[in-house]
C-alpha cells in the first residue's frame, strides 16, 4: 500500500467530485420528476455511473419509449468509452484481469483524462491511485444523486452560482494540457467542428461521437510522427 498514491488520488478526484456534485443533484431531481423513486435513482447512479447517459436515459423513461430503445440510446451515448478503454489498456498492463475489469467499470471521462495525463507525465498508474481517484468521485456521485432525489424541488437555478460552467471549464483545462501532443491542433480543430456540426444538425448527445470520430480520423490520416520512446517524440513533452 502506498499512502502517497492514495492521497494524490483523493486530491485529484476531489475536484471532479466537487464540480460534478451539482449534476448528480440535478440527475436525482430530474429522475424523480420522470417517475423514478429513491432506490431506483440510487441503483442507476451506482450501476450505470455515467452522468450524461443517465440524464438521457431518464429523459426517455419519462416519455414511455420502448425499453430496448432506452438501452440502445444509453449505449450510443456511452460509445466513446470504447475508445477510452482501448486507449487506456497500455497503461494498465500490470493490473490483474479482475483489477482491469473493476478499473473499466469506473472509467468515466475525468478518470480517463487524468489517468492518461498521469501516465504521460511518466508515472506508473497504481491500483491505489486509480481506485482512490475513483472512490472520491463515485461515493459523492451516488450520495448527491440520492440527495437530489430526496430534495429535488429545493435546488434553484444552477446559473445563479455559475455551476453550469464548471464542467466545460474542467474539460477545457484538460484539453489544453494535451497541447504538446503530436497533431494536437488539427485534431482539436476537427473535433470542435465535428461536435458543433453534430450538435446543430443531429443534436445532443450524438455530437460527442460525431466530434470524436472527426478528431480521431484526422489523427489517423495525419503524417505519422516518430514512434513514442524515440528522443524526438519525447522532446516536446513537458
Amino acid at each position: 500500500m502506498n499512502r502517497n498514491e492514495i492521497v494524490e488520488g483523493f486530491k485529484g478526484g476531489a475536484i471532479v467530485a466537487l464540480s460534478s456534485a451539482p449534476f448528480a443533484v440535478l440527475f436525482g431531481a430530474v429522475a424523480v420528476d420522470n417517475g423514478l423513486n429513491l432506490p431506483e435513482v440510487a441503483l442507476m447512479s451506482a450501476t450505470v455511473y455515467a452522468g450524461a447517459s443517465q440524464l438521457v436515459g431518464i429523459e426517455l423513461f419519462g416519455q414511455y419509449v420502448a425499453a430496448w430503445l432506452v438501452v440502445l440510446s444509453i449505449f450510443a451515448v456511452n460509445f466513446r468509452h470504447v475508445l477510452y478503454s482501448a486507449a487506456l489498456t497500455r497503461y494498465l498492463t500490470h493490473f490483474s484481469l479482475g483489477q482491469k475489469l473493476l478499473a473499466f467499470f469506473l472509467l468515466i471521462d475525468p478518470q480517463f483524462a487524468e489517468t492518461v495525463r498521469r501516465a504521460e507525465s511518466g508515472k506508473t498508474i497504481t491500483l491505489e491511485w486509480y481506485l482512490a481517484f475513483a472512490a472520491v468521485i463515485y461515493v459523492p456521485w451516488l450520495t448527491f444523486s440520492v440527495i437530489g432525489a430526496a430534495f429535488g424541488s429545493m435546488i434553484g437555478d444552477p446559473r445563479v452560482w455559475a455551476i453550469d460552467v464548471l464542467l466545460p471549464l474542467y474539460f477545457l483545462g484538460i484539453v489544453v494540457g494535451f497541447r504538446r501532443k503530436p497533431g494536437f491542433y488539427p485534431v482539436v480543430a476537427a473535433s470542435f467542428i465535428g461536435s458543433v456540426l453534430g450538435y446543430q444538425f443531429v443534436g445532443s448527445p450524438w455530437h460527442v461521437s460525431i466530434g470524436a470520430a472527426f478528431g480521431v480520423l484526422v489523427a489517423a490520416l495525419l503524417p505519422l510522427s516518430p514512434p513514442p520512446g524515440t528522443k524526438t517524440a519525447k522532446a516536446g513533452h513537458s
Binding site: 431506483e40 449505449f75 468509452h81 470504447v82 514512434p227
Partner: protein, 104 residues
C-alpha cells in the same frame, strides 16, 4: 415517496448498466485481440483524449452566451500558464462577473 423497486424499471436500469459496461470493456477486448497495433491506429488512439474532451466543451462555447464564451476564453488563456484549480477559479469568476455585474 414509494420506496419499493419496480421490477420492470430495475431491469431496465440493469440493462442500461450492462450496455454501459460493455462500452467500457469493449475497447480493451478489441485491442487485446490484436497481436500488433498498426501505427495509424496507434496515432488515432493517441488522439482520443483531445478529440473526445474537445467535444465535451465545444458546444458549450459555441452555443453559450457571451458569459460562457468570455469565461472559457479567460480560462483558456489562464490555463496556458497556471494549474487547473486557478484556471477553474478564473473562468468561474468571469462567468459570475458577467452574470451579476454586467447582466450578460
Amino acid at each position: 415517496m414509494n420506496f419499493a423497486l419496480d421490477p420492470a424499471t430495475a431491469w431496465l436500469i440493469i440493462a442500461a448498466a450492462v450496455a454501459t459496461y460493455l462500452t467500457r470493456v469493449g475497447g480493451y477486448v478489441l485491442i487485446t485481440r490484436m497481436s500488433t497495433i498498426p501505427p495509424r491506429l496507434e496515432a488515432a488512439l493517441n488522439a482520443v483524449p483531445a478529440a473526445v474532451l474537445t467535444t465535451l466543451c465545444a458546444p458549450a462555447f459555441f452555443n453559450g452566451g457571451l458569459d460562457i464564451k468570455l469565461a472559457m476564453l479567460v480560462a483558456l488563456v489562464v490555463s496556458l500558464k497556471y494549474p487547473g484549480l486557478i484556471m477553474l477559479a478564473a473562468g468561474w469568476a468571469t462567468a459570475m462577473l458577467c452574470r451579476h455585474a454586467f447582466g450578460l
